[in-house]
């Protein structure tokens, strides 16, 4: 539905009528909606409850936080937009999708912000607080008008909703309850389970006075009623009941819980967006499991404290993002050299430097692989889903311990703050830390008793009688004695590197999404998995022989890649990091700077891996990737048909 004035009829009618109006039912398998307010007006909470409840109702869900880059940007400005995008539907949802189909906006400026990001569908339904259009402040009315003009070109169906006016019927300060009213609107539109919502509200406000829950539930009701009485549509999405137990959370929560489940007992950190919330979750609960979070004076100290804890017998965790990873560079080198187990969780954000602190990017890969001066073999792995954020921590700890090595886990802002549901993990005691080992060390045992075949050796930790030795970041021999000799240095390097080869042997090639061979293989890593697979599915539905594969272990790189690549005519990575576009000025195939995974794959497989990468500070959309696949396919055809 589209009209020349973006403000459509329904909402402008008087709203006294409390009876139901007849509804068009929109049938669809999924929908993308956004709820967006000024920072501090609670759209985030509204979105979170919506997502949780739809997950509980067995819908597939994926949410993306809309966070302003400033602490308190001026109200009623595009910069102030805060809230949630929610994509939900019948099937499993793995990414934020392409277009927003419905928006609830608390003012026209935050609507503008979302409009300008070019993410609203042409026929997007917009429910917007109506009070601004007739505000007593002339400037505000002007702003409203200007905004409506700007978005006038689009075909949105704009439905003004007297949110505050309605809320005032129950509360004195409508600014504080509007979000629940909005939730009511949405509940009615999508037919959400009201009792489940009330439960969720009560849980949220459990620590506050009971009246708080009560008044929030009242406002919810009001929203439902208003929608019932005024909207001429509702949206119906089929559900498939799942009965396996499931949980819903974001990737940072999953990583924090994974750390606990893995048996880690120590985390040292320094706050940094978007990794800090991992620590917040841990700070709340880690002590209940005998675990400690230590906030250090800086990231260097955080790495050092974690290494000290690991040295003393733990497998410690340090959590950070780009700039913090940079500061840990030297200490990570020490851990590698001394073979002290350490897990580093890097929740990637936009870079370089301070970059885009709240936004997603996948551009710490090469720094994670090669950041340390000297030869410093380490394990690098990247979870691709929220569920994998949980399990990655368990795997990381196990590898760090068994291989006496550093494991860097690369998550990102999209995984860290996005919510998704997944199978409830079955916890396992075997993941847990063994109590500190106090057995006496035999006189034939040595601190680096490297098995010459594998490079593996057993850790001796303080407290073990007879095991006294001094570890050092200088080159050392099996007894941990400083040794500058040529053989000793070569041996140490061999042993530290050999462990990766051994780990490599235990790995399998990544599974292929789609056929095992074809014209184009798309390769990804990390949080882009869902979007890539969705794009590939669409391309395949278009009839193109396209498949994808997703790499979990970047160091050592999973096996079998060359074989896989050779079964496809072309290979292209899709990544959220920077690469030169070949058609940009001065860029040639020779000097082109490549996507980070593409660079790695080329060196390792010698296959001519192309890349399509972008750095928008946003997750990639399946539609974008789908387009990129099309472009790639046509350029291949062109090349093939053009006589050389």
């Amino acid at each position: 539905m589209s009209s020349s004035s973006p403000v459509s009829a329904v909402g402008s009618e008087p709203t006294e009528c409390r009876e139901s109006v007849p509804k068009d039912v929109i049938h669809t398998n999924e929908h993308v909606l956004e709820i967006v307010s000024d920072s501090g007006e609670g759209a985030q909470k509204c979105g979170q409850i919506f997502a949780a409840v739809s997950a509980k109702m067995s819908y597939g869900v994926w949410t993306v936080e809309i966070i302003p880059a400033e602490i308190e940007p001026p109200a009623r400005t595009p910069a102030s937009a805060s809230g949630n995008l929610i994509r939900f539907g019948r099937d499993r949802i793995t990414n934020w999708g392409d277009e927003v189909k419905l928006v609830v906006a608390f003012n026209e400026q935050v609507l503008l912000s979302q409009h300008r990001l070019d993410a609203l569908a042409d026929d997007c339904i917009v429910l917007i607080e109506s009070k601004w259009s007739t505000h007593s402040d002339e400037e505000i009315c002007q702003q409203w008008k200007a905004a409506m003009e700007e978005i006038g070109e689009s075909g949105y169906r704009i439905i003004p909703v007297p949110m505050e006016e309605e809320c005032l019927r129950r509360v004195d300060d409508p600014r504080r309850g509007k979000n629940m009213f909005a939730l009511g609107l949405l509940a009615q539109i999508y037919g959400l389970d009201l009792e489940k919502i009330r439960e969720q509200i009560r849980a949220q406000f459990a620590k506050k006075a009971p009246e708080v829950s009560k008044s929030n539930c009242d406002l919810l009701e009001l929203g439902v009623e208003w929608a019932e009485g005024n909207l001429d549509f509702r949206i119906e999405i089929p559900r498939i009941e799942v009965d396996e137990p499931r949980v819903v959370m974001n990737g940072n929560q999953a990583a924090a819980l994974g750390a606990v489940a893995s048996g880690m007992e120590f985390c040292a950190m320094y706050p940094i967006t978007p990794a800090t919330s991992v620590s917040h979750y841990l700070c709340e609960m880690f002590e209940n499991y005998g675990g400690k979070v230590h906030q250090s004076e800086d990231e260097i100290a955080a790495a050092g404290v974690a290494i000290g804890a690991s040295y003393a017998g733990k497998v410690a965790l340090t959590v950070t993002s780009g700039p913090g990873l940079a500061l840990k560079t030297e200490f990570i080198g020490l851990a590698i050299m001394t073979e002290i187990p350490l897990v580093v969780l890097d929740v990637q954000r936009g870079g370089p430097s301070t970059g885009l602190p709240t936004k997603v990017e996948q551009s710490d890969l090469l720094a994670a692989l090669f950041g340390q001066p000297g030869d410093a073999p380490r394990v690098v792995m990247a979870p691709a889903t929220i569920e994998e954020c949980f399990h990655a921590m368990i795997t990381a700890r196990r590898i760090a311990k068994m291989f006496r090595c550093v494991v860097i886990v690369l998550s990102d802002a999209n995984l860290g703050t996005g919510q998704q549901q997944f199978r409830r993990p079955a916890l396992d005691e075997r993941w847990h830390a063994a109590p500190p080992n106090h057995r006496a060390v035999g006189s034939d045992e040595r601190p680096y008793d490297w098995d010459p075949e594998t490079g593996l050796s057993q850790r001796i930790v303080p407290g073990q009688p007879g095991g006294m030795h001094t570890i050092t970041g200088l080159n050392h021999d099996q007894d941990s004695q400083v040794d500058y000799g040529p053989e000793a240095n070569q041996l140490g390097c061999n042993m530290r590197s050999r462990k990766l080869a051994l780990l490599h042997e235990t790995m399998s090639p990544p599974p292929i999404h789609g056929d095992d061979s074809g014209r184009l293989l798309v390769v990804g890593w990390g949080s882009t998995k869902g979007a890539i697979e969705e794009a590939v599915d669409r391309a395949r539905a278009d009839g193109h022989p396209v498949s994808s594969t997703h790499i979990t272990f970047l160091s050592p790189l999973q096996p079998g890649l060359r074989d896989i690549f050779e079964r496809f005519d072309h290979v292209m990575t899709v990544e959220i990091n920077y690469s030169d576009d070949l058609d940009a000025p001065h860029i040639t195939p020779e000097n082109r700077r490549l996507g980070q995974l593409a660079f790695l794959l080329r060196a390792q497989t010698l296959v001519d891996v192309d890349c399509w990468t972008r750095v928008p500070g946003q997750p990639l959309r399946p539609g974008q990737i789908h387009d990129a696949i099309h472009t790639k396919l046509s350029s291949i055809s062109e090349m093939e048909t053009t006589p050389a």
Partner: protein, 317 residues
Amino acid sequence: MSDQLRSFFGCGLDDERTFDLDDYGDVVPRWCSGCGDHGVLNSVKRLMRDEQLLPERTVFVSGIGCSSRFPHYLNTYGFHGIHGRALPVATGIKLSRPDLHVFVVMGDGDCCSIGAGHWLHATRYNIDMTVLMLDNAIYGLTKNQTSPTTPMGYATNTQPKGSFLPALNPITTTLGVTNVSFVAQTADWVPAHLLATIRAAYRHSGFSFVRILQRCPKFTAPLFAEQARTPDLHEMLIHPNGVTVPGLDKIYKRSLEHDPADIDRARALSEESERVRLGVFYRNESQPRYDDIRHLPTHTAAQNIERLNVELDRYAV
């Protein structure tokens, strides 16, 4: 005390073992002859012998520098880490293993220059560890560069016309940090005082910071030579709560009563004076200790799994 507890606190169970000096290390250190580090090593071994520390329950953590080679010459656990970062490592060790005796050895460059931020914060955390700062007023290992404690005007390879700034006073600096709990100064050339001071530091519950004036005949011989020869250039801080070395007053005749509880006077006394003051400037066992505050009971895996399942319920759909 249960067996487990006894073992936890580092007093061996069936430990009829006794340790003599050599049990704490018998390698010949690779320091220059005449280097003050030798004397500190000897005192430290003596302390361990006197206190009969279990070698396996004792950890020496250091950075990088001549002084930081210290752990290699001891038969305890040792962590010879990276330049300036001994204190964070020691913090991690002590927080996760309260049963260990943690010693930290740093140089003046290590502690006061590259490690300054950690030094300040470790002082404030007040975790139970004994910190020896071997102050030779120079970068030794890298061969003669100005350190923060190099006296103004003293020529080095990086400030060949003489160091530009007045030397940093590490005692005053430490005393400026909130929650400081033990600060003392001694010198490698007064072995009895050195030992007594290290012992007091070791016995102090909390972060005990000892600055040890240390001769480096290689690069700063002129700075300490006269001092080391001339007892009258010293002024001993004495007090029942400080360190007292019987008989030392016969040689080191100049002394000053100073109650280490008095922080204002400690600060005033720490400032440059005609004579070098040795003794305990400040001691306060009632400051909160971070390792204490953060102490936790141990948990079994089964308990943890149970709790975590409850936690997961919060996220269940």
